[in-house]
Symmetry: C2
Subunit: 122 residues, 2 copies
């Protein structure tokens, strides 16, 4: 049976343009047999942010710890531990750590994009 | 933009055969436009458990708080806050609260099953 904890999974620095102090851990993905969607765990250190971008697939996000500001198609909102955020396909979005500590969140994505190619990080 | 917290969402008691002291909150689902998968938040009170059953779709689970025992195709394991569990399609599974407090977890499911019909609770 597959049981995992983020702190025991290997972290990959996110090198994408516009990412700062972001690390990703793939918790459940295609290689585990997940045919529909993947769970990734991200940390953003103080002063860091995810890329400001958009893509053809959605995010479902759950905040594990910390606080941040989310941009979603020109709208900004503060959010934090225990909040759930839905990022629509094609929405321009970014998460910026606004706290003194680490911002950690789960981000679920479909494993394939609209045209059937694998979703990055899934 | 869609930002939600479990404690502000309406809870539905899970009336399914074999469920005891279980409440579900749909955090993101088909009605929100989620085309691929849904996020549900479950609580299980002390002494309670989810149904012992199997189905043709997977679960990706993140434990928010508390501790429990999971059964997965005849294998049993204790797990708790911060753990991620993957339940394979067709695996016989059940979560039983083994703690003194509430056991709370996120459970993600695809929104459609193998034959294209909506997944219950998505």
């Amino acid at each position: 049976m597959l049981i995992r904890r983020a702190e025991k999974m290997p972290g990959e620095p996110v090198e994408m343009d516009g990412a700062r102090f972001v690390t990703m851990r793939l918790m459940v993905g295609r290689d585990d047999g997940a045919a529909n969607f993947a769970m990734r765990h991200f940390t953003v250190e103080p002063g860091g942010h995810t890329p400001r971008h958009s893509h053809d697939y959605e995010h479902e996000v759950y905040v594990v710890s910390g606080s941040a500001r989310v941009e979603h198609d020109g709208e900004f909102q503060e959010f934090g531990s225990g909040d759930v955020v839905y990022i629509r396909p094609q929405a321009l979005h970014q998460f910026t750590n606004t706290g003194d500590g680490q911002f950690a969140f789960l981000c679920m994505v479909p494993v394939t994009r609209d045209c059937g190619t694998p979703t990055p990080g899934s």
